[in-house]
């Protein structure tokens, strides 16, 4: 049995991925800030597999230590998914008006914390473990209004690329999951109807292809992985 740790797993893409992994028999460690919604997720997932749910703020060191202890208890991690991220203000302000204290929080959650999670969990990564850092096309394209979130994801992409060079025995993926109907997308477009966007479940097969396949470290697009052959 393999084990995965997913941050921000109480809703959206994190929960959708946790459901698939649980159905495939993976042991899970999940985290989220909201205690009630995380407990709900745990109840649902534990029907399929062994789940440890630890509510808390992933930007704090003591919470990450708790995740690491759970990882030791499970015998190590085969897939580490840095999924939790923070959009910033809704609607998103232009950069010239961007509140800098919020920008710091965006970078803390989206750049520094994923690295901190990897640092804390490094001793629990099993041979050939994979790390998925969930990024966004806003980290590559320059969309107006996406200066805070987008530039933080760009930083996460470059951080992932260097980490991959420095750790050839690990598989490190930075993945654009594509547009999804999630709470985050709704916050990004507060006045729009986003029900025409795909559900997060549609991005899961691409992530599973990375987790279970032997692809080399690199940047991937979750939808392209499944739609195009190879």
């Amino acid at each position: 049995m393999k084990n995965a740790l997913i941050t921000g797993a109480s809703r959206g893409l994190g929960l959708a991925l946790a459901r698939q992994l649980a159905k495939d028999g993976w042991g899970l460690i999940i985290d989220a800030r909201g205690e009630r919604s995380l407990e709900q997720a745990r109840l649902e997932l534990s029907g399929f597999t062994n789940v440890i749910a630890i509510p808390g703020d992933i930007t704090t060191g003591s919470h990450r230590e708790d995740l690491s202890k759970a990882a030791v208890q499970m015998g190590g991690i085969d897939a580490l998914v840095n999924n939790a991220s923070y959009l910033g203000p809704s609607p998103q302000p232009a950069l010239l008006d961007y509140p800098l204290d919020v920008l710091e929080d965006v970078y803390l959650t989206n750049v520094i914390t994923p690295l901190a999670v990897i640092q804390t969990l490094r001793a629990t990564l099993r041979p050939e473990a994979c790390i998925l850092n969930i990024t966004s096309d806003a980290g590559v394209e320059a969309y107006e209004g996406w200066g805070g979130y987008g530039s933080s994801k760009a930083a996460l992409e470059q951080l992932s690329a260097i980490l991959a060079k420095e750790n050839p025995a690990l598989r490190i993926y930075w993945v654009d999951p594509g547009d999804m109907q999630t709470q985050m997308l709704q916050e990004a477009f507060p006045d729009e109807d986003i029900t025409d966007r795909p559900l997060p479940e549609e991005s899961v097969p691409g992530l599973m292809a990375l987790i279970e396949g032997g692809k080399p470290s690199g940047r991937y697009n979750a939808n392209a992985l499944v739609k195009s052959p190879g």
Binding site: K69, V72, Q73, G75, A123, T124, L125, P127, E128, A169
Partner: protein
Amino acid sequence: MTLLVTSDFEFSLPAELEASEPPEARGLRRDQVRLMISNYSNDQIRHARFHDLPEFLNEGDVIVINTSRTRNSALMALRADGTPLELHLSTHQTADYWTVELRSIQPDGKSKHFEDACEGDVLSLPGEGKAVLKGPYISDCDPDLKQPSQTLWLAELNFPIRLDDYLSRFGFPIRYNYVKERWPLSYYQTVYATESGSAEMPSAGRPFTHELLSRLESKGIQVAPLILHTGVSNLETHEPPYKEFYQVSSLTAQMVNGARSSGRRVIAVGTTVVRTLETVAEVDGKVHAGEGWTCKVITAQYKLRTVNALLTGMHEPQATHLAILQSLAGLDHIKLAYSEALHHGYLWHEFGDLHLIMP
């Protein structure tokens, strides 16, 4: 028998000569690592690749290999106070009793011997396994010297499922700090490994490939298997040795005796093979089949009775294994060979280069 192994041979090993990853990660096949051939009768030293090995051997020579399989012998463990540790299983003693080493994990991912363990400590292991420390291990190799080990504990282990299933599911290979990352067990297995039981890979055999073995065979070079299950290797200098389980078949004994009586070479692949053959040797060097636990210690002064050649990795300064090399080839020859190896940038440790020491 002298118990404390010392060797009068010191050198400093530059960090860049420590093989920090498997040769495959350096773009090499297993058998493309380097091979230094040194003849102790005339101090000749030659340099080649491991796949050139058949060129240096003759028809009728016997290569003796250790076919023990490596286990996933490292487990994550939590102390009762929540300290995360790594538990290394060294040797399965009897029933649920093992000798183990505890290591703490540094923030930089490196591990070091954990000093603060106490008798009675209970460690929780993955998948509801449990370890209880019973006390420092006292080797029974010398009944007169009841010296508790500074490294090894005797522990009672409980696993909820069969040992092999448990370790393949929750364990991972033992790794020391010079290897930067965790590699899967397949990287720690010789191609000819059969019976599971070693804590650490008998690494001198790692560069053999099936292709190379068949080239040796077609040249009339015989390969004789035996088993010695290795324990953990990183004992403190001057620690008493501990016992390891071995098995030698009568066919292997016959092959070794045949080569010896007709003046051909007996080449031990690794120091574990030397330890085993010397265990089953009579005074005149004739070996017999056998199995059991060996306490055999080979010091630099020991007179080897069974082998006259050794294929081995590069050993660390002050490693007790160096004494085995000295007993075979003499201190001066080993000094000469090691200065060549240092000069030519040979790589040390289990993923490194090889040294064939012959008459």
